[in-house]
C-alpha cells in the first residue's frame, strides 16, 4: 500500500551509496573485496557492542529506568569506540595487505592507494551501518500505517532516511580522515574522528533512546553541518583544494579538460 514510501526512503538513504558503489567500486574486484571486508569489520564491532550491552542490560535491574538509560548511553559510547577500534584494526590489516599487493604486482607499485582504500572501506562501514538503521524501518514502511499516533512527526520515515544518508557519508569521510591520520601519524585527526562520531551518535540517541531510531530536524541539521565539515576536510586531505574545485567547475562548464593546475 505504501510502496511509494518504501522506495522513496530507500532511494534517499541508499541512492548516493548505490551510485558510488556502481560507478566507483563495482568495476574493480579489489575494491569490492575491501568494501565487503569493511562492512564485515563494522558488523563484528556491532556484534561485540550488542553483546556487551545485552550482558549489561541482563545483569542490571530491568525495572530501574535510570540504570537502563545509563546503560544505553554507555552502550552508545562503547559502540562508537568499538567501531573506531575496528576501523583502526582494518587500517592495520589493509596496511599489511598493501605490502602483499606491492610484492605481487609486476611494476612494484600498489594497484590501489591508501586514500582509495580509505574511501572504499568507509563506504563499506557506511553501507552496513546504514543497512542496520534502515531495514527495520523500511520493512515497517510497507505496512498501512505511518508514524504519529503517539504524537511523533509525520516525517519520521523521511528524516530517518536522511539521517541514514548522512551516516553513510560521514563514514566515508571519517574513513578518509582516519586513515590519513594513521598514515601520517597525526593522531589528533583520529581523535577528531572519534569525537565527531560520538557527537553524531549522541545527537541521534539523545533525541530518542535507541540507536537507530528517530532523528528529527533537531539532530539532522547539526549532523549535516558536521558532514559538510567532514567532507571539506576529507576533500582537502585527499588532495583537494579550492583551486582544484575551481578547475573542476570550469571544466564542467566548458566540457573540456583544462590542464591540471599546479
Amino acid at each position: 500500500m505504501t510502496l511509494p514510501v518504501f522506495f522513496g526512503c530507500a532511494f534517499v538513504a541508499f541512492g548516493p551509496a548505490l551510485a558510488l558503489f556502481l560507478l566507483t567500486v563495482a568495476a574493480e574486484p579489489l575494491r569490492i573485496i575491501i568494501l565487503i571486508a569493511g562492512a564485515f569489520f563494522w558488523l563484528v564491532s556491532l556484534l561485540l557492542s550488542s553483546l556487551a550491552w545485552f550482558v549489561a542490560a541482563r545483569a542490571g535491574d530491568a525495572r530501574d529506568e535510570a540504570l537502563q538509560r545509563g546503560l544505553l548511553v554507555g552502550g552508545v559510547v562503547l559502540s562508537v569506540l568499538l567501531q573506531e577500534a575496528f576501523r583502526f584494526l582494518y587500517y592495520k590489516l589493509l596496511r599489511k595487505a598493501i605490502e602483499g599487493l606491492v610484492a605481487l604486482s609486476e611494476d612494484g607499485c600498489c594497484p590501489i592507494s591508501i586514500q582509495q582504500m580509505a574511501y572504499v572501506a568507509g563506504l563499506g562501514f557506511g553501507l552496513m551501518s546504514g543497512a542496520f538503521s534502515m531495514i527495520n524501518l523500511l520493512a515497517d514502511s510497507l505496512g498501512p500505517g505511518t508514524v504519529g499516533i503517539y504524537g511523533d512527526s509525520q516525517l519520521y520515515f523521511l528524516t530517518s532516511a536522511f539521517m541514514t544518508l548522512v551516516m553513510i557519508f560521514l563514514h566515508i569521510f571519517w574513513g578518509i580522515v582516519f586513515f590519513h591520520g594513521c598514515e601520517t601519524r597525526q593522531w589528533w585527526e583520529v581523535a577528531a574522528v572519534v569525537i565527531t562520531h560520538l557527537i553524531v551518535s549522541g545527537l541521534v540517541s539523545c533525541s530518542h533512546l535507541t540507536f537507530w531510531n528517530p532523528l528529527y530536524l533537531g539532530s539532522l541539521l547539526p549532523s549535516y553541518l558536521l558532514m559538510a565539515a567532514a567532507a571539506v576536510w576529507a576533500y582537502v586531505l585527499s588532495g583537494g583544494s579550492k583551486q582544484n574545485l575551481h578547475h573542476f567547475l570550469l571544466c564542467l562548464r566548458s566540457g573540456t579538460t583544462p590542464p591540471p593546475g599546479s
Binding site: A39, F54, A131, P144, F248
Partner: protein, 725 residues
C-alpha cells in the same frame, strides 16, 4: 479453532516475528548487495534474536506506528450444509479510516459524505441493529465494523439469533404438525434479528474493553472529526482488522476439501472443523456403560443445554439461555442424591447436559441417534419421562411454564398429565408456581424435540416464558449475569461473594427443589418429598463460579490438578467450539461429580486406576490445607458422571449436506487481531517517492562527473594524478 488458540498465540506471534525478520533480510540482500547477503542474514538474525530476548524492544518502529487492540473478539465464519455465515477480512487485513457512529445520523458520513473511504465504523453497541448493518452491508465504502459493547445492555433487547431458533431441526415439519413448523404457531424469539446468520464480506470486531474503545475514540476525535463543516485533513486515524477465513461456501465444500487433502497429503491443511464437544450425563443409580440397559428398566431423563453463542467467537455468556437452567439442573441432581432411599427407587433418573444445542441440537441429536442405534447404554425405549429445563431466569412472581407437545398429547395424555401433576404437586411449600400453557401451542426450541422425532416420549419443557422468550438477550453478548439479576454487594471479596446467597440463587434453588421433587415422584418415589430440598448455597456458589469467576476456592477444590489452568477470573465462554472438551464442559462435569458423587477412601494410585464401567473416579485437588498456605488436601471422588460425544451424526455418517442433523462447521483462520494507527496522505507518500528519486538521480549524475574528473578534483601539486580521489 485448534491450532491458533489462545495458547498458540505467543508462538504464532514469535513465528510471525521470525518471518518478518526474514523478510527484512530479503529486502536487504535484494538491494543489489547480493554478496553480503549471507553475512547480513546470519548476523542480523543473531543480533535481532539477542535483542528480542534482551528487552522486548525488538521492533520499536512498529510500536511507534501501531496500537494493538488486545481485548477484542471477532466475528468468524461458520458454515452449515448450504450457507456460510459470519465475517471475514481480506488476507492482509482490512484497513479503513475510523468513523465513530454514536447517533443514527452519523452513519451518513460513512455511507455518502465522507471523502476518505473506505471507512471502518466504530459502532455504539446500541446502534448495532439489523437496519444499520444492512445499510453498511450494502455500501462499498465500508471495510469493517468495530462494535463497542453497550453498558448498560440495550434496553430494547438484542438478539443476533433468528426469530425461530434451530428452525427445521426440531420435531415439527411437514410430516409432523405442519401447522407448527417454522414457528408458524409462535415466534419464539421475536427480538431475534438474525444478524448471526448473515454473511458479511467485511470483518466485525467486538471491543470488550472500554479503555481501548476510549483510546480509539480519542484518536478519532484528534484526527478524524469533521470540524465545523470542513473535511478532516491527513494524517487520519485508521484501523486494521485481521480475520481472514480459510473456508468458504458451505460445510459440504470445506469438508470435501479437507477430506480430499487428507487422503493424499501427508500434512493436510484442515480448513474447517465440525462444531463438537461432549455431553455430560450421569444417572442416579449407576449404569454399566459397556452394556445396554435392560428394556424393562425405566429412566426419567432430565436435560438442559450447556451452550450458547453470540455473534463473536468465544464470547458466549449465555446466563439465561444456558447457565441458569443447568445450574438449576445441577442443584436438583444434588437434592435428589441427598434424599433418603433414592437408590431403591423403581426407576432410574438420568441427568443430561447437552452441548451444542444452539447449533441445531448437536448434543441431543447425537445422543438420540446413539440411543436409537444402540450405541448408548440407555435406549430410547428405556426413557419413561423426559423433563427438560429450558431457560429459567428468576421471575417475579416466580411463575414457570410447562410446555408440552400438542400432538403427542393425544396418545400420551396420561403420562404427560402425570408429569404435570407431579410438577404441580411439588410446588407446595415453595414460592414457585408452575402453569400449563395452552394446549394448542407448540414446544419451544428444545432438546426434547430431537427425542420426540424418534419416538413419542412423554415430556415436559419447563421454561420461564409462556409464549415467546422472556430473555431479551437470547444468544447475545448481553446475556450475562446482569440479565438474570445476579448482583453482589460491591464490598464483598471474591471469597465472600462465592458464598453470598443472592436472590437469584434463592429463587433458582426453589425451582430446583420443585424439579427434584417432581423427579422423585416420577421415578416412583412414594415417600414424602418435603425432605428433598435444593441448597441455595450450592446454587449461589455455582452461579458465582459459572457466571462471575471460575477461579474460586470451590471450583479449585473440585477439579483435577492438571485442569487448574482453566480457572480464570472471569466466567467461561459457553461456545461449543471445535476443541474438546471446552472448559465449560469440564466445569459442569466436575461440579456434577462433586454434587452427586461420594468421596472414595482411596490412595491416589488406586483412585487413578479404578475407573470402571459403573463409576468414574477423579483425583481432585481438594480444599486448601488449613495448616499450610500452599498445600491442598486432595481426595478421590467416585461418581456416575460420564461424557458422551457431542459431534453431529452428520459427520459420523459423512452426510455433510444433511438436513436431518446439524452440519455446523467453523472455518480455520491464521490470526484474529485489530490495531489502530495513522495513515498518511497520498501526497506525502508521493512527495517521499519523488524526493527519493531526485536524490538518486542527482547522486548518479554527481558521482559520474566527480569520478570522471577525479584527476582534476583531487590533483595535488606534489603528486599529480597519483591519487584518484
Amino acid at each position: 479453532m485448534l491450532c491458533e488458540g489462545i495458547g498458540g498465540e505467543k508462538e504464532a506471534e514469535a513465528a510471525g516475528k521470525m518471518a518478518a525478520v526474514e523478510e527484512e533480510e530479503e529486502m536487504g540482500s535484494s538491494c543489489s548487495w547480493r554478496m553480503r547477503g549471507v553475512a547480513v542474514v546470519l548476523l542480523r538474525g543473531l543480533l535481532l534474536c539477542a535483542l528480542v530476548a534482551g528487552s522486548g524492544w525488538c521492533n520499536s518502529v512498529e510500536r511507534k506506528i501501531y496500537i494493538p487492540l488486545n481485548r477484542t473478539a471477532s466475528c468468524v465464519r461458520l458454515m452449515n450444509a448450504t450457507h456460510q455465515i459470519g465475517c471475514q477480512s481480506s488476507m492482509n487485513g482490512d484497513t479503513g479510516v475510523i468513523h465513530v457512529v454514536e447517533k443514527p445520523e452519523d452513519v451518513q458520513w460513512v455511507l455518502t459524505d465522507g471523502p476518505h473511504p473506505p471507512y471502518i465504523v466504530l459502532l455504539d453497541g446500541e446502534l448495532f441493529t439489523r437496519d444499520l448493518m444492512d445499510q453498511l452491508k450494502e455500501s462499498s465504502r465500508i471495510s469493517g465494523v468495530a462494535v463497542a459493547i453497550a453498558k448498560p445492555s440495550p434496553v430494547k433487547g438484542f438478539s443476533p439469533a433468528s426469530k425461530c431458533p434451530n428452525d427445521g431441526f426440531g420435531v415439527y415439519s411437514s410430516d409432523y404438525g405442519p401447522q407448527y413448523a417454522h414457528c408458524n404457531n409462535m415466534e419464539w424469539n421475536p427480538l431475534g434479528n438474525g444478524l448471526f446468520y448473515e454473511d458479511f464480506s467485511f470483518p466485525i470486531f467486538l471491543l470488550q474493553d472500554e479503555n481501548e474503545t476510549e483510546v480509539i475514540k480519542q484518536c478519532y476525535q484528534t484526527y478524524n472529526l469533521p470540524r465545523n463543516g470542513s473535511v478532516p485533513q491527513y494524517p487520519l486515524c485508521a484501523m486494521q482488522l485481521f480475520s481472514h477465513m480459510h473456508a468458504v461456501t458451505s460445510t459440504v465444500t470445506c469438508m470435501r476439501r479437507t477430506s480430499l487433502q487428507s487422503t493424499f497429503s501427508i500434512n493436510p491443511e484442515v480448513i474447517c472443523d465440525p462444531l463438537s464437544d461432549y455431553n455430560v450425563w450421569s444417572t442416579l443409580k449407576p449404569v454399566n456403560v459397556s452394556t445396554k440397559l435392560n428394556s424393562t428398566e425405566k429412566v426419567v431423563m432430565v436435560a438442559t443445554r450447556i451452550d450458547s453463542h453470540s455473534m463473536f467467537w468465544n464470547v458466549a455468556p449465555g446466563a439465561e439461555s444456558a447457565v441458569a437452567s443447568f445450574v438449576t439442573h445441577l442443584a436438583a441432581a444434588e437434592a435428589i442424591h441427598k434424599a433418603p432411599n433414592v437408590q431403591s427407587l423403581p426407576k432410574n433418573i438420568m441427568f443430561t447436559f447437552f452441548q451444542g444445542e444452539s447449533f441445531d441440537y448437536i448434543g441431543s441429536s447425537r445422543m438420540a441417534y446413539d440411543m436409537q442405534k444402540n450405541k448408548f447404554p440407555i435406549r430410547l425405549e428405556n426413557i419413561e419421562y423426559f423433563l427438560e429445563l429450558s431457560q429459567l431466569a428468576p421471575t417475579n412472581p416466580s411463575v414457570f411454564w410447562m410446555h408440552t407437545d400438542p400432538l403427542s398429547q393425544r396418545n400420551l395424555s396420561d403420562q404427560i398429565n402425570t408429569m404435570l401433576v407431579a410438577l404441580k404437586n411439588s410446588t407446595a411449600g415453595t414460592g414457585v408456581e408452575v402453569r400449563e400453557i395452552s394446549s394448542s401451542q407448540a414446544l419451544p426450541p428444545s432438546s426434547f424435540q430431537r427425542f420426540l422425532r424418534l419416538k413419542e416420549i412423554p415430556g415436559v419443557v419447563l421454561a420461564d416464558h409462556n409464549t415467546s422468550f422472556q430473555n431479551k438477550y437470547y444468544q447475545s453478548i448481553y446475556d450475562t449475569s446482569e440479565n438474570i439479576l445476579l448482583n453482589y454487594p460491591e464490598w464483598l471479596s471474591p471469597e465472600e461473594a462465592l458464598d453470598h446467597v443472592t436472590e437469584t440463587a434463592k429463587s433458582l434453588a426453589e425451582v430446583a427443589t420443585v424439579v427434584a421433587r417432581a423427579l422423585y415422584q416420577l421415578a416412583g418415589g412414594s415417600g414424602s418429598t418435603t425432605a428433598i430440598q435444593a441448597d441455595p448455597k450450592t446454587v449461589t456458589r455455582m452461579l458465582y463460579g459459572f457466571l462471575v469467576r471460575t477461579n474460586n476456592s470451590w471450583f479449585q477444590s473440585i477439579i483435577k490438578a492438571d485442569l487448574k489452568g482453566i480457572l480464570e477470573n472471569e466466567p467461561p465462554p459457553y461456545y461449543i467450539a471445535v476443541s474438546k472438551p471446552v472448559n465449560a464442559t469440564y466445569l459442569v462435569h466436575y461440579v456434577l461429580a462433586n454434587l452427586t458423587g461420594t468421596v472414595a477412601n482411596l490412595t491416589k494410585e488406586n483412585c487413578l486406576s479404578s475407573d470402571g464401567d459403573l463409576y468414574e473416579y477423579a483425583w481432585v485437588q481438594g480444599p486448601q490445607d488449613p495448616n499450610s498456605t500452599s498445600s491442598r488436601l486432595p481426595f478421590c471422588v467416585r461418581s456416575a458422571v460420564h461424557l458422551s460425544s457431542a459431534i453431529s451424526p452428520a459427520f459420523e455418517l459423512r452426510e455433510w449436506g444433511s438436513t436431518q442433523y446439524s452440519t455446523w462447521t467453523e472455518s480455520r483462520w491464521k490470526e484474529l487481531h485489530a490495531r489502530i494507527f495513522l495513515v498518511a496522505s497520498k501526497q506525502l507518500e508521493i512527495i517521499t517517492l519523488i524526493v527519493g528519486i531526485v536524490i538518486l538521480i542527482i547522486s548518479f549524475i554527481a558521482t559520474y562527473f566527480i569520478n570522471a574528473k577525479a584527476d582534476v578534483l583531487f590533483a595535488t601539486p606534489q603528486d599529480s594524478g597519483a591519487v584518484a580521489y
